[in-house]
């Protein structure tokens, strides 16, 4: 039986799952569970232990009314994604792919629902387990006691009810899977099962998100009415959504316009411009009011993060590329250079930060200041300087830019990662076929032109990879900033992640910190997708 094609497929599947099992379990425990848990936390008031459920209040505190709008959009996006996958499913069914798509879809539906039931059970169980330390207080805390309490928490009435439901769901799913495997093994398409499961989960989750958002908005409106204020959440929601939709539309039109035929191009571009202008205007007009109740420190944190990213990523990539390109020339001691450039990356932050503190000390004789004095510039206060670089140069306010202290941190961060980038660029350069350069050289192309027209395009995947990693890295950056910041600079160097950590560590505001972390996560995800779309198109995969 195992020698048939079906048998082989079965075995291949089983082997693959066995191969994946350890990694999968660990990712579930240390990757997915934490995310789900943190989301759960973000809907609560939560110090060290769970407190009351507060709905979207933490998000509202972080982003003002934009918090509601984000969740509304999340719900809509979920619905759209579900619709898209669902549509594909039905198309497939119509095409009459071999087998029994309806059965597969049923299997998917049930397993998707079972997954949600499991999630529900899980969220009922976790707080109960979390509170065990409180229950055992004043007793001798032995392992046996904890295990006993753990056992008890599974039989809490609510947990038990949810658990039973989940068991039924899982059993049903397993049963169907078994039937499918034994009875219709050949005729079932895996993707259909998975897609319909995903659709189910998405559908239910987004309906949940929408209902939550709407009820929260209603509650906020009701309380505003009580205190006699008007709260234009709905109009903000509509306007901001419209603004963003117009911007997206503009993007699509531009894309079309560039490809379009000569005589239609102008019209399309003009239309796109109009959409962009109107959308931008609406956003500019509505956003401040919607963000009025937002946490200023968080918004400032995002702004500082953006400055930090734009100040480090391009510089770091450019220098890394330059060094790698030079290293790639026929020179001696290449191994030595490669080794040395990597040193900053492998030295612990604790060690290097001390040196940077010495170099950029505010004292007159600190190395950085001595160098300035040689060039004839006034000594600066570096890591203590919260004035922006622009104001130090006498520029007007809107050109102010980051605080000098943040610049020092940028230098530090750039210094740390250049070597890493250079080594990876070097590897990327190595993958470019030498004949291309050779051919270009014979054609008489100059070094710069070869670099510009052959090397760089062929290197674009590496550039793409590194910039993606670097941008995600800067948005999550924490340690470099945490250890170089000084009290005198205040919050001028607090990127979003530093601010979030502060809330978690110093204030034990777990709920609030989690909600802000999710906003950050959403931002990173959005940027990654955006970068994928914009840059991904330009990447030449040779």
């Amino acid at each position: 039986m195992l020698n048939t094609r079906r048998g082989r497929i079965l075995i291949e599947n089983l082997t693959a799952y066995i191969f994946l099992a350890p990694a999968g379990c660990l990712i579930l425990l240390f990757g997915l569970f934490p995310v789900a848990f943190a989301f759960f936390v973000s809907l609560h008031r939560w110090r060290r232990f769970p407190d009351e459920y507060v709905g979207l209040a933490n998000y509202e505190k972080a982003l003002g009314n934009v918090g509601y709008i984000l969740f509304f959009w999340l719900g809509l996006l979920g619905l759209a994604a579900a619709a898209k996958i669902g549509k594909r499913l039905f198309k497939r069914q119509e095409q009459g792919t071999a087998g029994r798509p309806a059965l597969a879809m049923l299997a998917g539906l049930i397993s998707g629902y079972a997954a949600l039931l499991a999630l529900d059970w899980f969220f009922k169980l976790i707080p109960v387990i979390m509170l065990i330390p409180r229950q055992v207080r004043g007793q001798h805390t032995s392992l046996a006691l904890f295990m006993e309490k753990l056992g008890e928490s599974f039989s809490q009435p609510d947990v038990l009810a949810a658990g039973n439901l989940m068991l039924i769901g899982l059993l049903l799913a397993a049963l169907i899977a078994l039937v499918l495997l034994l009875r219709f093994r050949q005729e079932i398409s895996g993707p259909i099962v998975i897609n319909s499961a995903v659709t189910t989960v998405l559908l239910i989750a987004s309906v949940f998100s929408l209902r939550l958002t709407i009820s929260e908005i209603e509650a906020a409106l009701a309380s505003a009415r009580e205190s006699g204020e008007s709260l234009p959440i709905w109009s903000q929601l509509v306007f901001i959504s419209a603004g963003i939709a117009l911007m997206a539309l503009a993007y699509v039109i531009f894309q079309r316009g560039i490809k379009a035929h000569e005589n239609r191009r102008f019209a399309l571009l003009a239309l796109g411009g109009l959409a962009l202008a109107v959308g931008g205007y609406i956003l500019m007009a509505e956003a401040p009011a919607a963000l009025a109740a937002a946490d200023d420190d968080l918004l400032a944190g995002f702004w500082i993060t953006i400055m930090y990213a734009t100040g480090t990523v391009p510089v770091q990539l450019a220098i890394g590329l330059l060094l790698a390109y030079l290293l790639f020339q026929p020179i001696r001691f290449r191994a030595f250079f490669r080794m040395v450039y990597f040193i900053p990356y492998i030295t612990p932050f604790v060690a290097t930060s001390i040196v940077f503190r010495v170099i950029f000390d505010a004292g007159q004789y600190a190395p950085a200041n001595r160098m300035l004095t040689i060039v004839g510039i006034e000594p600066q206060r570096w890591i203590l300087e919260r004035s922006s670089i622009g104001s130090l140069l006498g520029l007007p306010d809107f050109l102010a830019g980051p605080a000098l202290a943040l610049i020092v941190i940028m230098i530090y961060s750039t210094w740390t990662y250049i070597g890493y980038d250079a080594v990876i660029f070097l590897a990327g350069l190595g993958n470019i076929p030498g004949e291309l350069n050779e051919a270009a050289r014979i054609d008489g192309a100059s070094g710069w032109r070869i670099f510009r027209h052959i090397t760089l395009p062929l290197l674009s995947p590496t550039v793409f990879f590194l910039s993606l990693v670097a941008i995600i890295g800067t948005f999550q950056a924490f340690t470099q900033i945490w250890i170089l910041r000084t009290g005198a600079v205040g919050s001028k160097v607090n990127t979003a992640s530093v601010y979030i950590f502060d809330q978690l560590q110093n204030s034990n505001r777990y709920g609030y910190a989690s909600s802000m972390a999710f906003v950050l996560f959403a931002l990173i995800l959005l940027m990654t997708l955006f970068q994928n779309r914009i840059m991904g198109r330009r990447v030449f995969y040779g």
Binding site: A23, P344, G434
Partner: protein
């Protein structure tokens, strides 16, 4: 022509018309070296000062001298002792004087143990997973891979508390199964197991496994080998370089880990070196910068040695996996 980075094909330049433009080349070569050496200075300048300061007297450090007047080796002895980095106790038989047992403790020893476990564990977990993603067909492959990848984008800070909870309760479970040795908390599992399944490693290896020619698999299958045997007998021997890359990166990450170990260790039984260094540097009393520098240098040396040994294959591994986004 040096080929120290195998996998890096013939470098550009040289070639047919090299002799024609030798003059220009020499000039440009000089400027290349100038830039490269400037890079070296910037890259290791701070590091070199760290080394230099570790030999200075305290007042020399405070005046930010470049070089010490004389090398104070005793800084290292003091730092080693004060920071509790390494402690070797030799027990000898009182009668014969023969060596009975060697007791090693201290942060360096802890870090070595932790690093070994987490690197080995990571290889054991990531290699099969990457292999499955690269070379096997199974239901939900792309879906699972997308799920894996998406976990890379989550800001680490939100994970702290849930990770703690997981470690606390899994540890209790394992302790009640395996006795005290099975504890997670303040023991190696809490310090290593969460890092076994590194998505980055899986991604890297998957990229490499993709490139292994299909012919090899066909040949192996004709010989009657299944996936496990193919993986062990054919794929692994071919993958030395990417594995070395993973080992090096894992070593660096594990050696420099600070925040997490701080939360899950309550005494020095398993506390790693970065925590030791940080405790030494940020103790509540004003510290001695020269000793801090000496301690930092001690911390870096093992990593430098490893990178020195592994760097060729490390670079090769990066080149071969062709990290391409």
């Amino acid at each position: 022509m040096d080929r120290d980075g195998a996998g890096i094909p013939k470098p550009a330049g040289g070639g047919l018309n090299a002799s024609a433009s030798r003059e220009r080349l020499n000039l440009s070569k000089i400027s290349i070296y100038a830039v490269l050496f400037a890079g070296v200075l910037i890259a290791v300048g701070p590091f070199l000062w760290m080394v230099s300061a570790s030999f200075m007297t305290l007042s020399e450090v405070n005046l930010t001298r470049l070089l010490p007047e004389e090398l104070l080796w005793e800084n290292y002895a003091t730092a080693l002792r004060r920071a509790n980095f390494l402690d070797i106790e030799l027990t000898t038989d009182p009668g014969t004087g023969a060596l009975q047992s060697v007791g090693i403790s201290g942060y360096i020893w802890n870090s070595i143990r932790i690093t070994l476990i987490s690197v080995c564990g990571s290889l054991l977990v990531c290699i099969p997973a990457a292999y499955a993603f690269a070379r096997m067909k199974f239901i939900g492959r792309n879906f699972l891979f997308a799920v894996f990848l998406s976990t890379m984008m989550i800001p680490g800070i939100v994970m702290l508390i849930p990770h703690l909870l997981t470690v606390i309760w899994l540890g209790r479970l394992s302790e009640s199964l395996f006795g005290p040795a099975g504890a997670w908390f303040n023991n190696w599992p809490a310090l290593t197991i969460p890092f076994f399944a590194s998505v980055f490693n899986i991604f890297l290896l998957r990229q490499f496994f993709f490139q292994i020619p299909e012919d090899l698999w066909d040949a192996a299958r004709i010989d009657g080998a299944g996936h496990p045997r193919f993986l062990i007998a054919v794929v692994l021997p071919l993958s030395k370089a990417p594995i070395m890359t993973i080992i090096t990166l894992g070593f660096i990450g594990s050696w420099n880990a600070l925040m997490w170990p701080l939360l899950v260790t309550i005494n020095d039984d398993w506390r790693p070196i970065a925590v030791g260094l940080s405790n030494f540097v940020t103790s509540d009393t004003p510290g001695d910068l020269n000793l801090q520098m000496a301690a930092s240098v001690i911390t870096v040396i093992p990593i430098l040695c490893l990178y020195f040994v592994a760097q060729k294959q490390f670079t090769e591994g990066i080149a071969q996996t062709g990290i391409r986004g």
